[in-house]
């Protein structure tokens, strides 16, 4: 069995605020294998971005990681590195732009406005590699060219505000991949783009990833995008993973009522008459997390007295898929009994 590139174990993240401790992520575990694309899906506030940022320790100063949480990064011929044990900024460079790179939702806002795109690319290369400035510049231009930016030499000396939206995200990808990271975290990389450009950017990412042989953690609220890109997927709700498995399993036969709700909420292109059925209700405030199953306040099939009091365990399905749902657990028990 291949060693996972990154292994997240029982990740629990709390924020210290004036209102008290807020739990943003609770008992999240997943592995990403080398070369694998993993999707992390959920609504805003589900904790998917916080989870991703934890891999680089990018969460704000008031973040408290639970002592039992582990994020293990595989290292060639060495013991895995526990990312959360890193304290100094200098040590964190391994996971910040070194072995892990990240691209963000707003390509415009992720470039410093008064520094040229090229200068920011070179800076990163100088931090992480032994390259000279001249070599770093040559590689940066090559990367810009590689992601399909025309006239890359001239673009290198320009500012982000001189780029179009799609081009900015391409440049961002070029920058993120220039240090040859082993994991790329893509935090809603296509949400701010036009649909046509979205498709181009996704294709580009898929191509580059297979060329470079790196893994991707793809964060999105869009199951449609996941279906096109990911190998496996984890669905998050209010800081917990409610269901995970291969993309095929989860999208073809969603088991958790929340995943089912998300899929029903997608527009169907071949049945325009079909009504959209949004998941009823709103995501509760993290200050007011429901007891028992976190989804029980919005669940159409919640079992009274069970879902509101007990946290569901993960039921194992075929091919390693996991679902945290009392109903699924009950069905499985019945199936075993008969």
């Amino acid at each position: 069995m291949t060693t996972p590139l990154i292994s997240v174990k029982d990740l629990t993240i709390r924020f210290r605020t004036d209102e008290g401790l807020i739990t943003a992520v609770e008992d999240v575990s997943f592995d990403i294998l080398p070369g694998q694309v993993m999707g992390l899906v959920g609504e805003s506030g589900s904790g998917k971005s916080v989870t991703a940022k934890a891999l680089m320790q990018l969460n704000a100063g008031n973040t408290r990681y639970d002592p039992a949480s582990k994020i293990l990064l595989d290292r060639p011929e060495r013991e895995p590195l526990d990312v959360l044990s890193l304290k100094r900024d200098r040590d964190l460079r391994v996971v910040r732009g070194g072995a892990i790179s990240m691209i963000f939702q707003e390509p415009m806002a992720s470039f410093a406005p008064a520094i040229t795109v090229g200068e920011q690319m070179v800076e990163q290369l100088l931090i992480h590699t032994a390259m000279s400035r001249v070599q770093a510049k040559a590689l940066s231009i090559e990367m810009l060219d590689r992601v399909g930016i025309p006239d890359a030499g001239r673009r290198f000396g320009q500012y982000a505000f001189e780029f179009s939206g799609g081009m900015r995200q391409r440049a961002m990808i070029a920058m993120a991949l220039s240090t040859k990271p082993r994991l790329l975290i893509a935090d809603e990389p296509t949400t701010a783009l036009d649909v046509t450009i979205q498709a181009q950017v996704i294709d580009l990412m898929k191509d580059l990833v297979s060329d470079f042989g790196m893994a991707i953690l793809f964060i999105t609220h869009d199951l449609g995008v996941i279906a096109q890109t990911a190998d496996k997927v984890a669905v998050m709700y209010l800081g917990r993973i409610v269901e995970k498995g291969t993309v095929r399993q989860v999208i073809k036969t969603p088991l958790h009522p929340y995943t089912q709700g998300l899929l029903n909420a997608l527009p169907k292109i071949n049945d325009l008459e079909a009504e959209l059925t949004p998941v009823p209700g709103d995501i509760p405030s993290p200050l007011d997390r429901p007891p028992g199953c976190v989804f029980n306040t919005r669940c159409p099939v919640a079992i009274a007295g069970v879902c509101t009091t007990q946290v569901p365990r993960y039921s194992e399905g075929e091919g390693g898929r996991k679902v945290a749902c009392h109903l699924v657990e009950r069905h499985q028990a019945e199936a075993v009994a008969t």
Binding site: M56, L58, G61, D89, R90, L92, R93, R96, G97, G98, S101, M102, F104, E106, A109, S110, F111, A112, P113, A114, I115, T116, Q120, E123, Q124, I127, H128, Y159, F161, M175
Partner: protein, 335 residues
């Protein structure tokens, strides 16, 4: 590079146009004061016991050229100011304004500029570091000192320092020069003596200016620090002081630089009160005197013009600084 020179030339030309417009406004304001220079001078002589007739006034107006059309008089005034640096004679005192002002304007401007530079030299680094630090004690004491600077009226601060100095050192620290240098020509010794006294008004004006600038810098920094490009830079492995100075700090400075011209004006407005208490001889007090008491429009106009010209000049400098700092500004200004 040539593009940059072109940019500087354009800004210089625009500054000149602004200056001309300002001169027109100042000149118009001078004219709006009821009565002319001739009437005012003769009325003043009247109080000294001479008998004045309408014919005397008309003759005086002719002599001063006040019977010429408005535009011609403005052209003459502005020409003298621009090419010869002369503001003409004061209405009442009948003395050359340059002689009357002598060093006063430059002393005022020097004190204000020194206070301005001092305040920014403190406020910018301290504000940037304070915004990024989590040290509650340091932050709160800084806030206390800076609110004190904002809340404490300048004249009160001046009085307190004078009182302390008189009680403990036997020197009230008033005036800009010691007795022996008061009427001496400028020399290094006189300059040294000037500095040994000028620090007080500079300090008093500088405190509130620092407090003001500090609030601006801190607020702008807090704004920038939360932005995505800072997180993105951290995600690329940029750390420590490089992450602070190159990313949010550099981007927060634009609006701070922009406020320099405005601040110079504010400090100049505060100077006369401080000057009154410390009995400094400077141009601000002279401006109030000529505006409010003697209605000396020529003198008042000269001082106002010199002040606005200083602000226009400072804005010209800050425009260039801003363009060096921010490519978006460069782009916007050059078209």
């Amino acid at each position: 590079m040539s593009q940059f020179i072109q940019f500087v030339m354009t800004r210089a030309f625009l500054a000149l146009v602004t200056l001309l417009t300002v001169s027109l406004i100042v000149f118009t304001l001078m004219e709006l004061v009821p009565g002319t220079c001739a009437e005012r001078y003769l009325a003043f002589k009247n109080t000294q016991g001479s008998q004045i007739t309408i014919a005397d006034i008309a003759a005086e107006e002719r002599r001063l050229g006040l019977d010429r059309p408005f535009i011609e008089r403005w052209g003459k005034w502005v020409g003298n100011v621009f090419f010869r640096g002369e503001f003409g004679d004061s209405c009442i005192l009948r003395l050359d304004i340059n002689q009357l002002l002598a060093d006063k304007f430059w002393i005022s401007l020097g004190i204000c500029m020194a206070a301005l530079i001092l305040s920014y030299m403190i406020a910018v680094p301290v504000g940037i570091v304070a915004a990024s630090s989590n040290n509650a004690v340091a932050n709160n004491s800084l806030r206390f000192v800076s609110y004190l600077g904002l809340a404490l009226p300048n004249f009160l601060l001046a009085l307190i320092i004078m009182l302390f100095s008189t009680v403990f050192f036997g020197d009230s620290l008033t005036g800009l020069f010691s007795k022996e240098y008061r009427d001496a020509a400028w020399s290094w010794a006189k300059f040294g003596d000037f500095l040994s006294r000028a620090w007080l008004p500079i300090f008093i004006l500088g405190w509130s200016a620092t407090a003001f600038a500090l609030q601006t810098v801190r607020a702008l920094m807090l704004d920038e620090i939360g932005k995505l490009y800072v997180t993105a830079a951290a995600a690329r492995g940029v750390t420590g002081s490089r992450l602070l100075w190159r990313y949010p700090a550099r981007h927060a400075l634009g609006p701070v630089i922009n406020s320099l011209g405005f601040d110079l004006n504010r400090i100049f407005n505060e100077l006369p009160i401080v000057a009154l208490i410390l009995t400094l001889t400077e141009a601000g007090a002279l401006l109030f005197e000529s505006l409010a008491r003697s209605n000396d429009q020529q003198l008042a106009g000269a001082i106002i013009f010199l002040l606005t010209a200083s602000i226009v000049l400072l804005n010209f400098v800050t425009d260039i600084m801003l363009a060096l700092l921010d490519p978006r500004v460069r782009r916007g200004m050059m078209g």
